[in-house]
């Protein structure tokens, strides 16, 4: 039998630094040349916060970003999609509280054509009313699906309770039934006209760029893009009041459980210590939550602690699912663990730092992953060097700083609770009155 081999530590690693080019139309290029990554990801991040939507037209930002590949003035109907598909390119787009992102993924050999087509969609979409009406119907169906999925709905409900009621972030990003049903092609066109322009936009390109002069390609594709647009500052998200909600899903054979808190953003000096603490509590296999709830009790397949920064503040959520009969036990045990009666140990902190820092080269080994992080930074108006600053700070976290920040951010008595499950069976053990599934 072989004896355990020694481990050799890797040297220091840096998140790649992009080549930055600024164009005279206000667009900035962040270019990441990643040899061996043969699918290139190109993303235009538009600094268009969700609050740019008129209140009565919530969902219009999402419709606009989804409709971009439904045809252009030069390639109406599905001729545009045919052009994209002929070079294996795929378009996607999404909206967050802080920004709108539009993305094209294309094999490197077809990048020049891909960028030209990408610019065509951004600058001259057709927005055919028939397509917009269909996308509206799709969005309404998506809301119906969301209401039927315990996991998705629970995650949405906890998020909406973590932020203050009345804020845009407390309502669905893609709009609700009432607002979406009232949208139309002219509203989508007007939104595009007002907000889709190059000023302050960032083009993030990641992949194997060998043989290409990327600034020249980007200039060819996007250089003529000129449109004066409104640039708004995103409203800062405020914390909501803690709530305890039992949402009745009569057919459920399992409860979807969420506990949530308002957390920290990346610019908060305590953020690195909080990342370490969150990892030790609920990040990996050896985390306290996983060891007790899954490995000791066998109550859940999956327990996780999400820590997602907003532009200011953040979103912290514990997620687990268990059969109805273990619901109360799991919640009680989770609350006991997050109370953190025993401070984090040096071993726990070392493991969490290892998980976060040593895993970074692996986590960012693909063009897709590098682009994802860069787009997230660009969306929040942050510098591309911030990742390396955070890694340096993470390495300096101690058990004392991790424990202190956890206790200051996570108050077990101020948690919001959402349980989606068999309301009749759960009302008594949880001491909560079941409410019907809300109409989104």
């Amino acid at each position: 039998m072989k004896t355990r081999p020694e481990v050799r530590r890797s040297g220091a690693w840096q998140f790649p630094t992009p080549a930055v080019t600024e164009f005279d139309n206000g667009l900035t290029l962040w270019s990441y040349d990643l040899p061996g990554q043969y699918v290139v990801s190109a993303t235009v991040v538009l600094p268009v916060p969700l609050t740019a939507e008129p209140v009565t037209e919530e969902g219009v930002a999402t419709l606009a970003v989804r409709a971009l590949d439904e045809g252009t003035l030069a390639h109406p109907g599905f001729a545009y999609a045919a052009e994209l598909e002929a070079i294996g390119a795929q378009y996607s787009g999404w909206v967050s509280s802080a920004a709108t992102a539009t993305q094209l993924e294309v094999p490197a050999q077809w990048l020049p054509t891909g960028l030209t087509l990408f610019a065509e969609a951004l600058t001259s979409p057709a927005f055919d009313p028939a397509d917009i009406d269909r996308l509206i119907a799709n969005r309404l169906a998506e809301l119906t699906q969301l209401q039927a999925s315990g996991r998705q709905l629970a995650s949405w409900l906890i998020r909406s309770t973590i932020v203050a009621a009345g804020q845009r972030a407390a309502r669905p990003v893609g709009g609700s039934h009432a607002t979406v049903a009232a949208l139309s092609a002219p509203a989508v066109r007007a939104f595009h006209d007002r907000h889709y322009g190059p000023d302050q936009a960032i083009l993030v390109v990641a992949g194997d760029l060998s043989g290409y002069d990327l600034p020249a390609l980007a200039e060819t594709a996007f250089g003529d893009w000129r449109r004066p647009v409104e640039r708004l500052t995103a409203d800062l998200i405020q914390p909501g009041q803690p709530q305890q909600r039992l949402v009745n899903r009569p057919s459920a054979v399992q409860s979807d459980i969420r506990l949530g808190w308002f957390g920290l953003d990346r610019q908060d000096p305590r953020f690195p210590a909080f990342q370490v603490a969150a990892m030790a509590m609920g990040g990996g296999f050896s985390s306290r939550l996983n060891q007790v709830l899954r490995e000791t009790h066998g109550w859940t397949y999956d327990v996780s602690l999400s820590n997602r920064p907003f532009q200011r503040g953040g979103y912290v959520s514990l997620a687990a699912s268990t059969q109805t009969g273990h619901t109360r036990d799991l919640i009680d045990e989770a609350r006991r663990l997050i109370r953190l009666d025993d401070t984090f140990t040096q071993a726990e902190v070392d493991d969490a730092i290892g998980f976060l820092v040593s895993a970074a080269p692996l986590s960012y080994a693909t063009a897709d992953a590098v682009a994802g992080q860069a787009v997230s930074l660009a969306s929040h108006g942050l510098d591309h060097g911030l990742v390396n600053d955070l890694f340096r700070s993470i390495a300096e976290v101690t058990p004392e700083t991790a424990t202190e920040v956890w206790r200051s951010v996570i108050d077990p008595d101020q948690a919001s609770l959402v349980v989606l499950g068999d309301g009749e069976a759960l009302a008594e053990p949880l001491g909560l009155t079941p409410e019907p599934i809300p109409v989104l």
Binding site: V7, R8, R9, F78, E85, Q90, T144, S286, G298, Y301
Partner: protein, 425 residues
């Protein structure tokens, strides 16, 4: 379309005990992916023991002679590695992606459990993991809309006694019945060096990879495995089997399924292209004729890429609000018949190959998927280099090959049908 072979290096070796080894060095990679692929999945389970291959996969993290329970996962994660395992119909794969200096430790963990798993398993671990797996079944199948779709589809297509007639997750009753003796017998039968492929991809040289495989696995006894499980190829389905389920689903949905040629057999790749032309992307036939016409909200086509006897092809569509499933099914039939009659256009084939190119390059961009692809190509084709020339093979398929394969295997009069309908209001 000019499709050239890819150029990932591929080196093969085999240890005296039968373990096949594949090494694919990558000068740009920051890590090494380790993939250990055992040729055992739910198809190997016996009646009354469904779900066992997957339950067993969970127990593989319970420790071994020199490894404490859970240590394998915890330790590698703390060193910056990613670790997991999955079970499908045909195989169980265990994989780690680790910093280069941790490769030896990852291999040592894998070898230690292959050499000594049974010394660490006890009734308490079995009982806990059984509960975890039952929660997994609730979470992924029993508590989600349409969660039982594939359980019905494989049963309609193959019958419950067929090796592919049940899902890897198994049934609650069978999970409850699993005993320690079953664990022992399963390990003895299937977990042998000759029944596995070890693939290493990334920041590792050819010689280093082969030497490390020998260092850590070379001493394990050969213990030759039983002959590879084979399953007869069945002709297409007869009799239009059908199941109509009433469920509290958000949208009504329709599924069709066929028995098609397995991975590696004639027509398999042509069927894949036909399904892509029908179902993938905005120019796909089903998108044009069902989604743009607002009969279906979403459509999808897929092939499970099963390896033995037959594979399973599925098309699914969710109905737009207010559209009767009968109307959707009639429209689907029109699209399908037209495709079988006229075949694809050259532009459609070109788009399908361009899409496959992007998907394949995207998949190989990550080391863990690349190592997994090498293992699969070794088991199913005895040719790990297939990852480099698969796209060329695909690009060689013409209109006739795709049309004839679709006509032979995707005939709607030889399908199985599954529907989800809402309860009457």
């Amino acid at each position: 379309m000019d499709i050239q072979p890819l150029t990932y290096p591929v080196h093969r070796g085999q240890l005296a005990n039968g373990l096949r080894v594949v090494v694919s060095p990558d000068p740009w990679a920051p890590a090494v992916a380790v993939n250990l692929w055992y040729d055992v999945g739910s198809a190997h389970e016996t009646p009354g023991r469904t779900g066992f291959a997957h339950l067993f996969e969970h127990l593989m993290f319970s420790g071994s002679a020199q490894v404490a329970s859970g240590e394998h996962l915890s330790q590698l994660q703390a060193l910056g590695g990613e670790v997991n395992a999955t079970t499908s119909f045909d195989r169980t794969n265990y994989f780690e992606t680790v910093p280069p200096g941790v490769t030896s430790l990852a291999l040592w963990y894998e070898a230690d459990r292959l050499g000594s798993l049974l010394t660490a398993i006890d009734q308490a671990k079995l009982d806990t993991e059984r509960e975890v797996v039952k929660e997994e079944k609730r979470q992924r199948y029993d508590n989600v809309p349409y969660g039982d779709a594939f359980a019905h589809l494989v049963e309609l297509t193959f019958g419950s006694d067929h090796p592919y007639g049940h899902l890897p997750i198994g049934s609650m009753a069978d999970l409850d019945a699993a005993s320690l003796a079953d664990v022992q017998a399963f390990f003895d039968r299937h977990y042998r060096p000759g029944n596995a492929v070890l693939s290493l991809a990334g920041a590792i040289g050819e010689d280093e990879g082969l030497r490390l495989a020998e260092d850590f696995f070379g001493d394990l006894p050969a213990n030759p495995p039983p002959p590879r499980l084979t399953v007869p190829t069945w002709a297409p389905i007869d009799g239009l089997p059908r199941a109509d389920l009433i469920r509290p689903v958000p949208q009504e949905a329709l599924y069709w399924a066929w028995r098609v040629p397995p991975l590696g057999a004639d027509d398999h790749e042509a069927i894949g292209l036909a399904l892509s032309i029908l179902g993938d992307g905005m120019t796909a036939r089903l998108h044009q004729d069902l989604v743009r016409t607002e009969l279906a909200d979403a459509v999808a086509c897929s092939d499970l890429d099963l390896q033995r006897g037959n594979s399973l092809a599925v098309v699914s569509a969710t109905a737009c609000d207010g559209v009767e499933l009968e109307r959707l099914e009639e429209a689907l039939l029109v699209v399908w018949d037209r495709f079988l009659t006229e075949g694809p256009s050259p532009a459609e084939i070109q788009r399908a190959i361009a899409r496959a190119t992007r998907d394949w390059l995207f998949s190989l961009a990550s080391l863990d998927s690349r190592a997994d692809a090498l293992s699969e190509a070794t088991i199913a084709f005895d040719d790990p280099d297939r990852i480099n020339h698969w796209l060329v093979e695909l690009a060689g398929l013409d209109i006739q090959a795709i049309t004839e394969a679709a006509y032979r295997w995707l005939d709607p009069t030889h399908r199985a049908t599954l529907s989800f309908r809402k309860e009457a209001a």
